[in-house]
Symmetry: C2
Subunit: 350 residues, 2 copies
DNA sequence: ATTAGCACTCTATCTAAATGAGTGCTAATG
DNA sequence: CATTAGCACTCATTTAGATAGAGTGCTAAT
């Protein structure tokens, strides 16, 4: 359904309000819009449209004689239907590529760099949900005896993910036993997802009373210890200082404190992010849509990255609700694409 | 040299000023001190002593008709000569032990927990300088072939420190070669500090043209790659939100921003901390003594922890210059001791 | 439907005065 | 001679009132 001329103009005015407010953080008056809008109309007309927008719940007034400020619904509509999809300027794309490129071979470091670059570009907070072995599949498992009762269990997953854990053994394990066990593990478990490993071994332990019983039992002991301390996601943060410099927080110690507290205790946020990152593509959550009490004054834009089509992690920008959505969106998307490209090229090098 | 009665009283008044200011963050007047000081004297006498303290540079007035505020010199004198060494109340010690104890076998996690507990107890910022393999000695090196041209190099150091790096090989390495190389590495390098490993191998490469040349050359390639991305220290942060809630920062967005920026870019701070942590014992740095422009409004209290007598890392509290030094000192010291005890007991389990 | 004009509202800013906490000085005291 | 009561003085903070100005909503004209 095409937009009527009126709707067209209404949307344009909403766009101007949002963009002016994003730029200045001050309520936007009709006079200001009248000077910008093409085709030009008088400020009185703008006022009429503005009260229409207010009736629709897209803007509101801090007080009777102030200009308009976008509501969360307003931002939502702006993001969904009004803003134009910007592409990242090529110089910034360049900057991004340079910042990430320097080819040290470590996913975690690559992601950290990407995060820093993204924070730099957007001047906002950045989080990276980094993949860990847990959500991936067994490529190889190595058991390195450290002493008779201690073992280093090295879990190697696809996507260059590695975790190692020291496991304290209840019964001593000889060097030969260890390598036999490792061989067993790799033959039996190779390619299986780490996530279900314990369950599947436990089932097998019950079902089977065969010659492998001992092997399964010992594997279970070791992997249970090793996986119990292995997080399913790691969250990186960058650019906190940019974030608190935003006017939304600068003058509001309480809000700043809330924000940082929300960042200190990451668990609920990770949970929320996981949902958004499940599908590929860019997601925008605005204000209360985040549904975390500490982050009500914020919005975020996320994109997942991966290897080829499979998503293995995500990166996003957290800022005040009043943020430059077109720019942030473009930058987040470009960063995620950049990371995906690098990881994919890399994976092919295996 | 014993203190004269006058010096005694002067110091007591300084103590009261510091402690009142720490508690309230407001300048301290003579009347207030007069009510607290025993043996009691009039506020006029206090005023005389106060101007004496001011002449000595221990306190100052924000403006002519305000009470006194301790200067950095004042805090320094207080910490060195006036404050009494408090011991941590046993319930808090208990809380600390419980928070750290839960026996998962991972130095990094232990330290993170200790950091969180310390931040909780002091309601201030906490940093932990965590040890990494680099500053320790070779216990074992394992080479796990991932493909013909990729190798996982696992560095195991004393103190349960482990690092693993994927190394891309220029020339293929067979499984047998890899295990031969690992054997060679362990025989030749075991017990040596990781720090000087590259140098010593390089020297050996020049000196020696014997049958080991090939082995040394390949080891060098691998270790160079593996160690180049290995940091010499890892810095953990906790409790940022407590810190910015302090009145020093709450109303001062610029200072808050500076602080967070100082925490974002850690390198200079780590350098400074390294010096303080070299010797065991507790160190206090006050304001400009930190000599980092972003942290001028702060002080910190550090203590090193280790295994037995050897220091391997440090933990500390960062707060506003106006902090409760006796309490923070006691808490930091107790935490460091707790960690040391745990690590030592643990190490003996090897 | 649009717009010029205008009365109205409400915040932000400014000024002036009152308040009060705290000092330094002086003279009296044991 | 250290101590103290008394007092004038200073200066940040608070309070109140007046002013300015930005922006609106409404009305009547086009």
């Amino acid at each position: 359904m095409p937009l009527s001329d009126f709707d067209q103009r209404r949307n344009n005015i909403l766009r101007l309000i949002v963009e002016a407010y994003v730029a200045t953080a001050a309520p936007v008056g009709s006079e200001f819009i009248a000077r910008k809008l093409r085709p030009a109309v008088s400020s009185a007309t703008i006022r009429n449209v503005m009260s229409e927008l207010e009736a629709m719940g897209y803007v509101e007034q801090p007080h009777t004689s102030a200009g308009r400020v976008p509501t969360e619904r307003g931002y939502r509509f702006y993001v969904d239907a009004v803003m134009d999809q910007r592409r990242l300027p090529s110089d910034q794309l360049q900057q991004l590529a340079v910042a990430i490129e320097p080819g040290e071979l470590d996913v975690a470091q690559l992601l950290e760099r990407a995060g820093i670059a993204l924070a730099e570009l957007t001047q906002l907070g950045v989080f990276v949900v980094a993949p860990t072995v847990r959500h991936s599949k067994v490529r190889q498992i190595e058991l390195v005896p450290l002493s008779v009762r201690k073992l280093l269990c090295v879990l190697i997953a696809n996507e260059e993910l590695i975790a190692s854990h020291v496991v304290e053994l209840e019964q001593p394990l000889s060097r030969e036993e260890a390598s036999a066990l490792a061989r067993f593990l790799n033959e039996e478990l190779g390619g299986q997802p780490f996530e279900g490993l314990i369950d599947s071994l436990q089932r097998r332990l019950l079902a089977e009373s065969d010659s492998f019983y001992y092997m399964v039992k010992r594997s279970l002991d070791i992997l249970q210890h090793a996986l119990s301390t292995e997080p399913s996601e790691r969250l990186l943060w960058e650019g906190t200082s940019y974030l608190v410099a935003q006017p939304e927080f600068a003058g509001h110690p309480r809000r700043t404190h809330d924000l940082l507290r929300g960042l200190d205790t990451q668990a609920p946020l990770v949970e929320r992010l996981r949902q958004d990152l499940a599908g590929r593509g860019v997601h925008v959550r605005i204000g209360h849509e985040i549904a975390l009490p500490h982050l009500e004054a914020c919005s975020y834009v996320t994109a997942s990255f991966g290897i080829g089509p499979a998503a293995i992690g995500g990166i996003g920008v957290l800022g005040p609700t009043r943020m430059d959505y077109p720019q942030v969106r473009a930058t987040v998307e470009a960063t995620a694409r950049c990371v995906t490209e690098l990881l994919t090229r890399w994976e092919q090098g295996w």
